[in-house]
């Protein structure tokens, strides 16, 4: 009870959100649930309100809440829509909104790469697959979600755990040393002694302050520190594409 009293601001939107999503899940005949939509919006609003920091630049905050709100609502619409083609388009909206968040975090390359790869290539592939596979119309397993209750419960328990960890309650806020994603690695500019003396290995590809976040710094890091990872990813793509060729046709009817 005491715990509930302290954390009702987190528990309430979770319960409301879970109710709304479970209600909106596709099931049998189409129906419009105005109540569930309103409750869902309410839940998103409450979470947004708790995250609102009193001090901060207005423009930055406005953009952040715009992008993240669109991302959350787009994601909910994606999983609750009955038509998979619409779901794919809502997924495109989610990735575009997330790209906006990347831009706010001064990661322009990541943002543009996400737009090109996800919103461009992958969504189009999804749509092609849907068109090729569903010439007979929407199937039963698209219109009915199998276990909406269990799925919603699991998802919201995970979401609640994450929010519980990330959003500091009023009492904890003061003493807790870190309240979220904070880099524990001292930046080269912040440490008094040279990095090799602090014992923590540092990048040798010179991601110094001046080229941090630039294409030059990213390229040096990608093909310096992470060269082997890039090569390994290339090998993986080779295996996956050859695998698709091996699986796709019937060999008895052709050479492949």
């Amino acid at each position: 009870m005491q715990w509930l009293k302290e954390h009702w601001l987190l528990v309430l939107p979770m319960v409301l959100g879970a109710f709304a999503v479970a209600r909106l899940m596709p099931k049998g005949e189409p129906r419009s649930s105005l109540v569930a939509r309103l409750v869902g919006l309410c839940a998103v609003g409450i979470v947004g309100g708790t995250l609102l920091q009193p001090a901060g630049s207005v423009l930055n905050d406005a953009l952040f809440f715009l992008f993240s709100g669109v991302a959350v609502l787009g994601a909910i619409l994606m999983i609750t829509h009955r038509n998979p083609a619409y779901s794919a388009l809502w997924f495109a909206v989610v990735t575009l909104a997330v790209s906006g968040l990347f831009l706010l975090q001064s990661a322009p390359f990541l943002a543009s790469a996400t737009v090109i790869v996800y919103a461009g290539a992958i969504i189009v592939t999804f749509l092609f697959v849907l068109m090729l596979a569903q010439q007979a119309g929407i199937t039963n397993y698209d219109q009915n979600s199998r276990q909406p209750g269990v799925a919603t419960f699991t998802g919201f328990v995970l979401l609640g755990a994450l929010l519980f960890v990330l959003v500091p309650s009023k009492e904890q806020a003061a003493p807790a040393p870190i309240t979220g994603f904070v880099s524990l690695v001292p930046k080269a500019s912040q440490v008094a002694q040279p990095p090799h003396q602090s014992g923590i290995p540092q990048s040798t590809s010179a991601t110094t302050a001046e080229n941090f976040g630039t294409m030059r710094g990213l390229g040096r890091s990608l093909f310096g520190d992470y060269l082997f990872a890039v090569e390994l990813a290339g090998t993986l793509l080779l295996v996956a594409s050859i695998g698709a060729i091996v699986i796709a046709p019937k060999r008895s009817s052709g050479k492949l």
């Binding site: 960890v165 990330l166 990872a229 390994l232 090998t235 993986l236 091996v246």
Partner: protein, 512 residues
């Protein structure tokens, strides 16, 4: 600046050999297949021999001591005694899997199938080698993506397709979980380098662990628990094993387990006992002990009790592999948690066994024996005379005496009876848990109870082979390459019982 990159390549020469040989398969394979889509007779023998050559070259390169590399900067790879152990395990596993696959694969698919096997072995080695979360994840995928293809080409009928699809979907889901955990880990620590990661947590002396890390540990352990078929993430294993070919089931019973356990050891790290004396001590390892404890108990009991009910051979072996994952989780749970410090700690630690060497020893012994059993099924199974259910085993002592004897040896090994290495594996796991702490003693008792339950269904198989008579008394034909694999595994598991020291001594260095 790129000096550390050029020096890193010398650490991964055996893996480069695997990848290069596999690429030769992929590049040359399509040209050897006729226009009607069938391969010439004997093509699979050539590709099998090619895989064995690649394995031999890689094994020879492993024996050549790599030059000592001074780690500068964010070193991508880490060479220690764990790596040499994993390379030994993958080499032996690879040889036996090539032998099982030899006659089982269709001529037209042989090039791709053997290439997948080589990719998988390289991936397993790279998991042990990786010193970076990104490389670790890519190596895990280098194990699982070729596995889908291997499963598919090993058996193209409906049940094969169904089990491949089941494995594919759940494996992709588990990869997503692991990646999610990795990204949280990176978000908190600010680095993907594993050495740097553990140092950051150690140096910063945070009195309490950031709660975000707990979420990341839970998702990483859950994702990797799919790989090692720990309960409650085991449910796909029996269906997949039953529906797929013997070679693919053999692969699934060993390689994902090696991959999962080594990845867990690498991420969680090890608790240092000196630091444990300070009350504020925490690490990724010490916080995950409780979770692994629960997984171990559930996995052992569920695996063994459900195995009692099975009549299909591969389904039985699937549950048996789940149960063995439980035994290994006992070792991991002991290895990651801080041992109880009491007054007679020094006296106890003198004769005690560490959890990590016990886990690794058991991993090797389990791989050897279970591969042997699958090789035996593959060797004696014929389409017109299958070895699918337990009743098919009846009268094997008459229809194939040598096979029955080797099967008995291997089943003794899985049960944990002397004179096989399985006995030593269970003994070391039991001792490591017993000498560890009060919780460890509970685990050790659970392990002993489960070993007794498991004896029931393993010994029942031996009983069926020797005491029941078959309706068809003609001699069974032998598939020669797979039978060589069986003999190799059986002889090795007996030899390891009489001379465990060379492996055990090497493993002792891993823990320290």
């Amino acid at each position: 600046m790129f000096q550390h990159l050029t020096s890193a390549i010398s650490q991964v020469l055996p893996e480069v050999v695997f990848l290069a040989a596999a690429c030769v398969n992929l590049a040359v394979g399509p040209f050897l297949i006729g226009d009607d889509g069938t391969g010439p007779k004997g093509l699979r023998h050539r590709w099998g021999a090619w895989s064995l050559i690649a394995l031999t070259i890689a094994a020879w390169l492993q024996c050549v001591p790599a030059p000592v590399v001074e780690a500068t900067g964010l070193a991508p790879f880490l060479s220690d005694s764990l790596v040499s152990f994993v390379r030994l395990v993958t080499t032996v596993t690879g040889v036996v899997l090539v032998l099982i696959n030899w006659n089982q694969i269709e001529e037209r698919d042989s090039a791709e199938s053997h290439a997948c096997l080589l990719f998988i072995l390289a991936g397993a080695n790279l998991i042990a080698l990786s010193n970076d979360l990104i490389i670790l994840f890519l190596a895990l995928e280098l194990v699982s993506i070729p596995t889908y293809l291997f499963l598919y080409v090993a058996r193209r009928d409906r049940s094969g397709q169904e089990s491949t699809l089941k494995y594919f979907l759940l494996s992709v889901f588990s990869s997503a979980l692991v990646l999610y955990g990795f990204s949280i880990l990176y978000g908190v620590a600010g680095t993907t380098n594993l050495t740097a990661l553990h140092l950051v947590f150690k140096n910063h002396q945070l009195t309490t662990m950031p709660a975000m890390l707990l979420v990341s540990i839970v998702t990483i352990v859950a994702g990797l628990a799919f790989r090692i078929t720990a309960v409650p993430f085991h449910f796909y294993a029996p269906d997949v094993f039953q529906g797929t070919a013997n070679s693919a089931a053999a692969l699934l019973s060993v390689v994902p387990k090696v991959a999962g356990f080594i990845a867990l050891v690498r991420i969680l790290g090890q608790p240092s006992i000196t630091a444990a004396i300070h009350l504020e001590y925490w690490s990724l390892a010490s916080k995950s002990g409780g979770l692994l404890y629960l997984l171990a108990v559930a996995t052992m009991f569920v695996g063994n009790l459900l195995a009692l009910l099975q009549t299909n051979m591969r389904r039985l072996l699937a549950y048996s592999s789940i149960a063995h994952a439980g035994y290994m989780l006992v070792g991991l749970s002991v290895a990651v948690s801080v041992p109880q410090i009491n007054d007679d700690a020094t006296a106890a630690s003198a004769g005690s066994v560490n959890g990590l060497p016990a886990l690794l020893f058991y991993l090797g012994v389990y791989g050897l024996t279970t591969l042997g059993v699958f090789a035996l099924i593959a060797s004696l199974s014929r389409p017109e005379r299958p070895l699918e259910t337990i009743s098919d085993l009846a009268g094997l002592s008459k229809t194939h005496p040598a096979g029955a004897f080797l099967a008995a040896v291997l089943l003794f090994g899985l049960t944990g009876l002397p004179p096989t290495a399985g006995f030593l594996g269970k003994l070391t796991l039991f001792l490591s848990a017993w000498s560890h702490s009060t919780e460890g003693r509970t685990l050790a008792i659970c392990l002993a109870i489960n070993a007794a339950i498991a004896a029931w269904y393993y010994l029942r198989l031996i009983g069926v082979m020797y005491l029941q008579s078959s309706c068809d008394d003609t001699r069974r034909a032998t598939g020669v390459p797979a039978f060589v694999g069986v003999s190799l595994c059986a002889v090795a598991s007996i030899a390891l019982f009489f001379a465990p020291d060379w492996l055990w001594q090497a493993l002792q260095r891993v823990g320290s």
